[in-house]
Symmetry: C2
Subunit: 327 residues, 2 copies
């Protein structure tokens, strides 16, 4: 952190007073174009960068948003964060990135760190059950597909409709024994509506319900093993509705290993439909979340809250289906 | 940004002087355990978060690192950023995330923003050709698999060995017409050694060279089209060595569409081997970069440079191969 060049040096170079430089920087009072140009030229020449930390302190606004997500290596998370960062950057906000790695202690430390660094708001998509920690008076928080308590605005896709489409597609394809692989049922989140839709569709068609819980917070290898153990001991399934595309991919791999052909023997539908997933695995039939729109609505609600407005939850952003060959 | 609670309020609550609170916060001078505990208890009770911005200003160190990457939606980038953030967080550093989206103007704005925000260092992996912008005296920068000029320390895997392994695997499998798909040859980066290795291996085996350039900065759909146009007009290939796993995946899709069986007709090897890629597409044979190690070495070199040490480039972190069924 170098600060050898300051207001004084810029003023000397531009042959104006330090007060004039300060007025140019803060766009305050009358300033001729000539004066402004002299100051800008001096800043450029001396490579002077006004200290945003000092500015944030004096303005009591940091133009910084903290993002707490479990990982970057889920393609839905990566894509939504990328768009969130782009929208925030367009609006003049910076992003402090925090990956909780599903560790509640780390998540708590991040929350403290973000508050110490005076963020103007937080966007979260973590699996922390201790949601009271997100009840921070005066600090706007928006959650992507998470229920983090009464202080937090929720943004999510229409999970129910997406899951309904997925399950009805499997039934239309002839599946009668459909397994639903879901995350931890103890965590409150809008995505739980996916399981509700599964149950409703099975009941409407008089089909049995099979629900496998695969906790979101476990490492990838353990989540794979849970599906593997289950599918190996329950060989009768002819359909799988997976909670996300990575789980769908795991199911497809495991089915192959136990000698089942996808889609001839078992049909599989995933959820999320991130661009990267479809680039790597276009054969996957899946429900596509409107990821760009989720990011845009999330940022817009957060900035409105930072400006003091009240924002309602929105949990019905429209989903679409990508038809591959796995169902 | 709320700051109603300050040193004064904490001092009153703890029944000590504001100076004592300040000494506790900065761990300065002799303090009894009792005093410290009283201050900590008051901070906890009042939910007081010391202002890190003020601290950064007074210490002339922000404990913030800027990360400029093109996108998060390349699985190698996402994984390396996740590990970088974890290592930095362990060392008490925060991460300001910047996605340049391959836009040189945006990249330049990010560099300015990071300097205004007094970052202690930068980690970059962009495709900007105007590398002079990274020559910032006094600001440590480390690049992941990029050559950004003399002020920037490079960290990369052993690209040459990885590519050599990939090409020799294809030849061992019987391929004689091997296409190398690479990024833009005009950008200086260590990964260019992959093409050098391809050429060396082809020459050593007296095989023809076919190199298709697919510029890194183009959008995904265009990069797909470049490969599609080429493969459709050059149906004689029996092997493809792709510059990264997404390109390998594109090649596999295109080959399927033009009626070629992978691996029977054409064998394909990728590069990167991110965990997510192997979760979604375990059948892909690819060269695996030591992503965690790259992140760790990158962070360690950056922190050493922040501490004033000189750091050499390291471009030979060891690669391994993942053997799927595509080659």
């Amino acid at each position: 952190m170098s600060d050898k060049v300051g207001l004084r040096e810029v003023a000397a170079e531009a042959q104006v007073s330090p007060t004039t430089v300060s007025r140019v920087l803060n766009n305050r009072g009358y300033l001729s174009e000539e004066t402004k140009n002299k100051v800008y030229a001096a800043m450029e020449k001396l490579q002077y960068y006004p200290n945003e930390l000092a500015r944030a302190l004096s303005k009591k606004r940091s133009f910084t948003v903290g993002i707490i997500f479990p990982t970057l290596t889920n393609p839905f998370h990566a894509e939504v964060i990328q768009h969130i960062e782009s929208y925030l950057s367009q609006k003049g906000y910076k992003v402090l990135l925090c990956n909780s790695l599903n560790n509640p202690e780390k998540e708590k430390q991040y929350l403290t760190m973000l508050r110490k660094n005076q963020v103007d708001g937080i966007i979260a998509a973590t699996h922390n059950r201790n949601i009271e920690e997100y009840n921070i008076p005066g600090l706007p928080i928006v959650a992507v597909d998470r229920d983090l308590g009464k202080n937090v605005t929720i943004v999510s896709c229409d999970n129910y409709s997406g899951a309904k489409m997925a399950c009805e597609k499997l039934i239309k394809d002839g599946c009668r024994q459909i397994l639903c692989i879901r995350g931890d049922s103890k965590i409150k989140l809008p995505a739980n509506a996916r399981t509700t839709a599964y149950k409703d569709v099975m009941q409407a068609h008089d089909l049995p319900e099979y629900i496998l819980e695969d906790p979101l917070v476990k490492p990838s290898a353990e989540r794979y093993q849970i599906i593997s153990d289950y599918l190996q001991t329950h060989p009768s399934f002819d359909g799988v509705f997976a909670g996300d595309d990575v789980l769908a991919s795991f199911a497809i791999q495991i089915l192959g290993k136990i000698g089942k052909n996808v889609p001839a023997d078992v049909k599989v539908v995933g959820f999320d439909g991130a661009a990267l997933t479809l680039a790597l695995k276009p054969e996957l039939t899946t429900v596509c979340q409107p990821i760009k729109q989720i990011a845009q609505v999330t940022v817009s609600k957060l900035l409105n809250r930072i400006d003091g407005h009240v924002e309602e939850n929105i949990t019905n952003l429209p989903v679409t289906m990508h038809f591959g060959t796995t169902a």
